[in-house]
């Protein structure tokens, strides 16, 4: 590619600067300082590879003289013209590809052959300062760009790939630093260490088992020793425990030997004696109580007093006392009955007054008011009432019929009045006939209208056919339709046209008018033709036939029309219509007839209603007559019935003239009076009875009181005395009862006294017997004997008890015998001493044994723990997992390492195989430039050396500044060629690269530049006119572009042609 021009919008000192038509080959851009040459170099780099942003340390060139920041480059490639533009804030890249298509960054990268900014700066577009930076040549990208190209597209360079692999490797394995493999190795070591420990512990299982067994044996030994000491302690404790009993026993035995008791003394003698003495005391006490009781009974008996008069009267007195309340009630009741008697008598008197003066008690009693009689009265009442009711119903019906009759008469009068208003109304038949005629007329009228239409049509048809014939060659002929006919037809058409016009059917009207005019015209013409001689129709039989036919049709229509007119006239005359009625006339006639029909119908209806009313009136009258007859009969029956009633009533002594209903009331009153009389009789009887009872009671009461020694009394005093008497009787009975009781008690007490005395004597005898048995003189002696006997028993018991306890403590057998022997010795203090000693030993052994047990438990737990431990398996599994991870990590490291080694090896190979070409090229150039001072350039192990004419290797770093710049320039040219061969052909842009060269070498370098420019575009920026001159001398066709100071220039630079000499 080559740059054909640019436009700078605003970039540093440059503003609105345009350059076009830059040629291939060498172009010198000449300008003084601050003309913008370096700025232009930066601009070209920036447009191609991007301007530095705020994050970069590169110099930025803000527009100092205005204009839109950035600009564009015009580029020519094999494919065509490109426009690369970066402008705006921020800079935006716009790429126009050959053909005008919009390009992308990838397209630009392809155009630039995959070069990046660094490569471009290092190899293709550099300044004087950058010329001296050799390390730029050693840069990886330079190396790789020299010796390699991207594998597929521009994804990664080998260096990047190598770095990426290094990154992977360092993550996996880093010497003496944390990395995945080192960490896993450390983890594996730790795990294996733990596993070995676990295995060691597991391997100690048998030892643990032995330790457990040993601990068990120790526990057993100590337990045994401890048991022995415990036994000895127990021995001495037994002795000590048994000693009190032993001592006690000994005392008891000694005392026992000293006690003397007669043989006959029983141990229970004292007890028995006590019992006997107790019985004696009890008997004496009982005797005293009985005697006291007896004297008490006797005393009470003396105090009891009775009345002998009372027992015979007791029953009666009690009876009277019991009847006292009844008697009082009877007295009360008598008072009440008297009052009730007065009331009843008053009531009866009132009832009799109600019944009447002729009524007395006898009559009341005599009257038959039984239920059957009452029923009969009710029957009479019902019959009479029924008869009366029938009379009333009949009378009511007669009244109602009379009213109805009057109403119908009124209705009839009204209908007749209305009917009289419909006069001179034709009958329906007449009206029907009229209507039929009117409809005939209507039909005739319609037929006429239709016939008229047909007539018109026939006329038109005739005219048409005439016109058809007229069109034929005609001769004069006398045939043909008359002018009158044509005129009539035309008139008819005109009439229809007018009708259509009235109906606003303009089109039809127009047509009809036109037809009428045409017919007139034909008629006129026909007349004229006939005037010239009878026209003769051309010989055409069909047309003539048609004409005749049309004429016949016309005549038919006319005849029909006339006929219809006659019929219409005839029918219309019957209906009083005009001879030629219009449809409207006919309609009116029909309407009239219809009205008449309605009127006729109404009149007929009225007549029918009047007839109906009349029939109804007759019916009512008939009914009235019948009702009146019934009423008469009913009245006769009723009168007869009343008579019969009177007879019946009189037979039963029922007062006249009571109606059955009143008789019923009478009976009711008689019943009430009878009831009152009954009440009265009852009260009177009761009174008598009560009096009798009272009198009887008082009589009996007086007798009893007298018998009892009391005074005779009556009334309330009698009652009181009777109560007193009753009390006396009760008291006397009580006293007598007490008397009997006391006498019985005295007898019983006497018997008890005798019994107790017997018991006393018996007990005293038993006591003497006991004393005699024991040989004791008295009680005291007996007790003494018994006491000794008891004591002896106690001692024996004590000895036995001591023996039991001792046996319980020390047992039986030889050991027990030995213990007894020791006990007998009685060395109590020695025993205690020894016991303490042995107890201390036992305590010590106990502690040792506890410790041994704990050790045994621990060893058992340890054995079980080892037996159940899964540490070995767990750690082995864990270690295997780590090994697996390690193996996988190593595999990945191997992969990354081998891949990196392959890349590096390939890179080295490329260096070895391709680098000489670059150096060779540079070597040739350098030889020319230095005029053979240096014959070759050699690159080895990354160091560039120059061989002088004597084949002395001189390190490039040892050369002079100018010479090394020359060398580097030659190297760049060589590299540029190498890149170009590999598809990265970019223009060389150099800024003041010849300043440090002497004129000879500058010229030589200029020749080299010109030589290079023959193959690649070269832009050489310089501020030195002599450089321009030198270039022009070497290559007269060189293009020179002049830049003014400060970058100021016209809007367009003028390409100054070189002066050709």
């Amino acid at each position: 590619m080559r740059i054909t021009g640019w436009h700078v919008g605003g970039f540093g000192l440059l503003a609105d600067q345009t350059v076009q038509d830059l040629p291939a080959g060498l172009t010198v851009v000449h300008g003084p300082n601050e003309a913008g040459k370096s700025t232009m170099l930066a601009f070209i780099r920036g447009v191609l590879f991007g301007f530095p942003d705020g994050r970069s340390s590169e110099r930025r060139y803000p527009p100092l003289r205005g204009g839109q920041p950035g600009g564009r480059l015009l580029i020519e490639s094999e494919d065509g013209r490109w426009i690369i533009e970066r402008s705006g804030t921020p800079f935006r890249l716009a790429i126009s590809m050959p053909g005008g298509a919009i390009g992308s960054k990838e397209d630009l990268s392809g155009l630039l052959g995959g070069a990046d900014k660094e490569l471009f700066r290092n190899i293709f577009a550099f300044s004087l300062e950058e010329l001296s930076e050799f390390h730029a040549l050693e840069g990886e990208k330079v190396r790789e760009r020299i010796f390699a190209t991207p594998v597929i597209g521009a994804a990664r360079s080998p260096s990047e790939a190598s770095r990426a692999l290094d990154n992977q490797r360092s993550k996996l394995l880093k010497p003496r630093a944390s990395s995945e493999i080192n960490d896993l190795k450390r983890l594996l070591r730790d795990t294996e260490r733990a596993m070995r420990e676990a295995q060691r512990v597991a391997a100690s299982y048998p030892r643990a088992v032995r330790a457990e067994q040993e601990a068990a044996r120790e526990v057993e030994r100590l337990s045994r020793a401890w048991n022995e000491t415990q036994a000895e302690v127990a021995h001495y404790e037994r002795l000590s425990a048994a000693w009190p009993d032993w001592s006690e026993r000994s005392s008891a035995v000694e005392e026992l030997a000293q006690i003397q008791v007669p043989d006959g003394v029983a141990q229970d003698a004292a007890q028995r004696l006590d019992e006997v003495l107790a019985d004696i005391r009890e008997a004496r006490r009982g005797l005293r109580e009985r005697q006291d009781e007896l004297s008490g009974h006797l005393t009470r008996l003396e105090k009891v007093s009775v009345d002998d008069r009372l027992p015979p009267l007791a029953a009666e007195a009690k009876d009277l006392a019991a009847r006292l309340s009844v008697h009082e009630a009877d007295r009360q009741r008598l008072s009440e009955v008297k009052v009730a008697l007065e009331v009843e008598e008053s009531k009866v008197h009132g009832e009799l007054i109600i019944l009447g003066p002729s009524w007395d008690r006898e009559r009341v009693a005599r009257l038959d008011v039984s239920i059957p009689t009452a029923d009969e009265v009710r029957t009479w009442s019902g019959r009479i009432t029924e008869a009366k009711d029938r009379e009333r119903r009949l009378a009511l019906a007669i009244d109602e019929s009379g009213n109805e009759l009057a109403s119908h008469a009124n209705e009839r009068a009204r209908l007749e009045r209305e009917l009289r208003e419909f006069v001179d109304v034709e009958r329906l038949q007449v009206l029907d006939e009229s209507e039929r005629r009117a409809r005939r007329v209507s039909a005739f009228v319609a037929d006429r209208a239709q016939t008229e239409t047909k007539l018109e049509y026939a006329a038109r048809t005739l005219e048409d056919r005439r016109m058809t014939i007229a069109a034929l060659p005609v001769r004069s002929s006398a045939s043909g339709p008359s002018p009158n006919v044509l005129l009539g037809l035309a008139a008819l058409l005109a009439l229809f046209a007018i009708t259509m016009a009235v109906a606003r059917q303009w089109l039809a009207a127009g047509g009809l008018a036109a037809a009428a005019v045409a017919i007139i015209a034909v008629g006129i013409w026909g007349s004229a033709a006939r005037g010239a001689g009878p026209p003769v129709v051309a010989e055409q039989p069909g047309a003539a036939e048609a004409l005749r036919e049309a004429q016949a049709s016309l005549e038919r229509q006319k005849a029909q029309l006339l006929d219809l007119d006659a019929q219409i006239a005839e029918a219309a005359s019957d209906l009083a219509l005009p001879a030629k009625p219009s449809p409207l006339d006919v309609e009116e006639a029909l309407a009239r007839i219809s009205n008449q029909r309605d009127t006729r119908t109404r009149a007929d209806e009225l007549s029918r209603q009047i007839g109906s009313v009349v029939a109804k009136v007759r019916e009512i009258e008939d009914r009235l007559l019948e009702l009146n007859g019934e009423l008469g009969s009913a009245r006769a029956e009723s009168g007869e019935l009343v008579k019969e009633w009177s007879v019946w009533r009189a037979a039963r002594g029922i007062p006249e003239p009571l109606a059955p209903e009143l008789v019923t009331d009478l009976f009711t009153s008689v019943h009430r009076c009878r009831e009152s009389l009954g009440q009265l009789s009852g009260k009177e009887r009761e009174e008598r009875e009560l009096r009798r009872q009272l009198e009887d009671f008082e009589a009996a009461g007086g007798q009893v009181l007298a018998a009892a020694g009391g005074e005779l009394s009556t009334g309330p005093a009698l009652l009181t005395d009777l109560r007193i008497l009753y009390g006396r009787v009760i008291d006397d009975e009580g006293a007598r009862k007490d008397q009997r009781g006391l006498e019985a008690a005295i007898e019983g007490t006497k018997r008890d006294v005798e019994e107790v005395e017997d018991e006393l004597r018996t007990a005293e005898a038993r006591g003497a017997e006991i004393l005699a048995e024991a040989g004791a003189a008295d009680e005291a002696e007996l007790r003494a004997f018994v006491s000794r006997l008891v004591r002896r028993g106690q001692l024996e018991e004590k000895v036995a008890g001591c023996d039991r306890r001792i046996e319980a403590q020390i047992g039986r057998g030889r050991d027990a015998d030995e213990l007894r022997t020791e006990l007998d010795a009685g060395a109590v203090s020695e025993w205690e001493l020894r016991r303490q000693e042995v107890a201390e030993q036992a305590e010590s052994l106990h502690v040792q044994r506890d410790e041994a047990v704990r050790c045994h438990q621990d060893s058992k737990q340890e054995t079980a723990r080892i037996g159940e431990s899964s540490d070995v398996a767990r750690l082995e599994t864990e270690a295997e997992g780590i090994r697996q991870q390690l193996s996988e990590a190593i595999s990945r490291w191997n992969m990354a390492t081998l891949a990196r080694s392959l890349i590096e090896a390939t890179l080295s190979r490329f260096e070895r195989e391709h680098q000489p070409k670059v150096v060779a090229r540079a070597s040739v150039l350098f030889k020319d430039v230095t005029s053979g001072r240096y014959q070759h350039l050699v690159a080895r192990d990354g160091i560039l050396e120059a061989l002088d004419e004597h084949d002395v290797r001189i390190d490039a770093g040892s050369l002079s500044t100018g010479t090394v710049q020359q060398l580097y320039l030659c190297m760049r040219f060589g590299l540029a060629e190498e890149f170009a061969e590999r598809g990265t052909s970019l223009p060389l842009i150099m800024d003041e690269v010849l300043v440090n060269f002497d004129p000879e070498r500058a010229r030589a370098m200029a020749r080299a530049i010109v030589d290079v420019s023959a193959r690649y575009q070269v832009l050489l920026f310089t501020c030195h006119p002599e450089t321009v001159k030198t270039m022009q001398e070497i290559s007269p066709e060189v293009r020179v572009i002049e830049l003014a100071r400060y970058g100021a220039n016209a809007s367009k630079l003028v390409l100054q042609e070189a002066v050709v000499r």
């Binding site: 594998v151 190795k185 599994t877 090994r883 081998l898 190979r909």
Partner: protein, 423 residues
């Protein structure tokens, strides 16, 4: 007489599982007890089937340093068989040779347990009601590397009954296992026994069906995702009628199942689809587990658009973590092992070779090293010198052989993919 017996081998009690990355605690816990529980299941099987005897053909423990827990568990299992009047016959193999390591049991085996010695082939006659019905022949390894063809020592007894030979050996030189007690099928047949109860090969196989039956039951519990450890593991129950053994019935007894899940990513477009595909396949495998837990090692192969995604740092780990999260921690569990990415970018190697650029040169270099063993050895040796392989191998780490031509080819492919931006 009709009877049955159980044939198992390679119990590897308390085995450290190999080839598994560091797993979650509940997985490690399950694995720790898996071999022991599988043995318990074996004992239950024998008792439930009321077999006459149980044959354990070697490698009872995983190493000469026999863990106490494993030994005690083994002892208790044999004790239960003894209590059920079931004989137990044991030969030791290369992992548990008789004269190496230590035993917590000493000589206190239950009465019906017979552990065969190492110096000669012993015979044990089994009787019922005084009538012999079977003879078991066996010999144990004395040392780990037993290189003698022990099969040649076996001879049929003259007693007319069913005769079984127990031997821990490598028949036919199976290269996936150590060549201990090497023998051939002909050697075994020459002994004229009715049934060979073998051990050592972890992949279950029947080398001869009848006259005699030559059977490897495989190990009782898979030990990792290696080829011979995958799928069902268990023992055989063999019904015998007189002197004829019927076809052995395999009974799976493993507690945790190891499986590999290979998946070609060629037609898979994105990671969610990949995850679904993996989960679907895992679900299919889980359906046949019978309630067992499973440790699944996914291996992705093929080339496709996913390769670049998989190559990005963190993608595989992220996918693995998501699979593990989705699988949850319930029992039975599904544990996803780290995903092996064997996918490759779609590189046209022939085209690259023709290009002659850096990539072509790199590939040419790899091709050259691939054919030149010495150059390859030097190249790899120089490249991998930093690794200190000796130290790693001493710690039991399986160090991949970098000089393997396949390894170098893969490194070249990785380099090209990196350069191409496919990684």
């Amino acid at each position: 007489m009709r009877f049955s017996f159980v044939h198992a081998a390679d119990l590897h009690l308390d085995t450290p599982f190999r080839g598994i990355g560091r797993a979650a605690e509940y997985v490690s816990e399950a694995l720790r007890d898996a071999s022991l529980e599988a043995f318990d299941r074996l004992v239950e099987l024998a008792i439930d089937r009321d077999v006459a005897f149980v044959l354990l053909a070697g490698d009872i423990y995983d190493g000469p340093e026999r863990g106490v827990r494993a030994q005690l568990r083994f002892y208790r299992g044999l004790e239960r068989l003894n209590d059920a009047s079931i004989y137990s016959f044991v030969v030791h193999g290369n992992h548990d040779p008789l004269l190496t390591g230590w035993s917590a049991i000493r000589d206190t085996w239950p009465d019906l347990v017979k552990v065969f010695g190492h110096d000669r082939v012993d015979q044990f006659v089994i009787e019922k009601d005084g009538e012999p019905f079977a003879i078991v022949h066996g010999i144990s390894f004395s040392q780990r590397a037993e290189m003698e063809n022990l099969a040649l020592r076996y001879r049929r007894s003259e007693m007319q009954c069913f005769q079984v030979g127990m031997l821990h050996c490598n028949v036919g030189g199976n290269v996936e296992h150590d060549p201990y007690a090497p023998c051939t099928l002909a050697d075994l047949k020459r002994a004229n026994l009715d049934y060979w109860a073998l051990g050592h090969i972890h992949a279950r196989q029947i080398l001869s069906e009848g006259h005699p039956w030559v059977v490897y039951p495989g190990n009782l519990q898979g030990r990792g995702p290696g080829p011979g450890e995958l799928g069902e593991k268990g023992a055989f129950v063999v019904e015998v009628d007189g002197r004829t053994a019927h076809t052995p019935e395999f009974v799976p007894l493993d507690v945790v199942r190891f499986e590999r899940l290979a998946l070609d990513v060629g037609q898979i477009s994105d990671l969610p689809e990949l995850e679904r595909a993996l989960q679907d396949k895992a679900g299919q495998l889980q359906g046949s587990l019978g309630g067992r837990s499973m440790i699944l090692k996914p291996v992705l192969t093929g080339s496709g658009p996913l390769h670049a995604d998989l190559a990005r740092e963190g993608t595989l780990n992220g996918l693995l973590q998501d699979l593990r999260d989705e699988a949850g921690e319930g029992v039975p569990f599904l544990w996803w092992e780290p995903i092996v990415d064997q996918t490759r970018a779609a590189l046209d190697f022939q085209s690259i070779r023709r290009r002659g650029d850096f990539a072509g040169e790199l590939l040419a270099l790899a091709d050259q090293l691939g054919t030149d063993q010495e150059a390859r050895r030097q190249f790899v040796g120089a490249a991998l010198a930093e690794l200190q392989v000796g130290e790693l191998e001493a710690n039991g780490v399986a160090v991949p052989d970098g000089s393997d031509p396949e390894c170098l080819r893969e490194a070249a492919t990785a380099a090209l993919e990196l350069l191409a931006g496919a990684e």
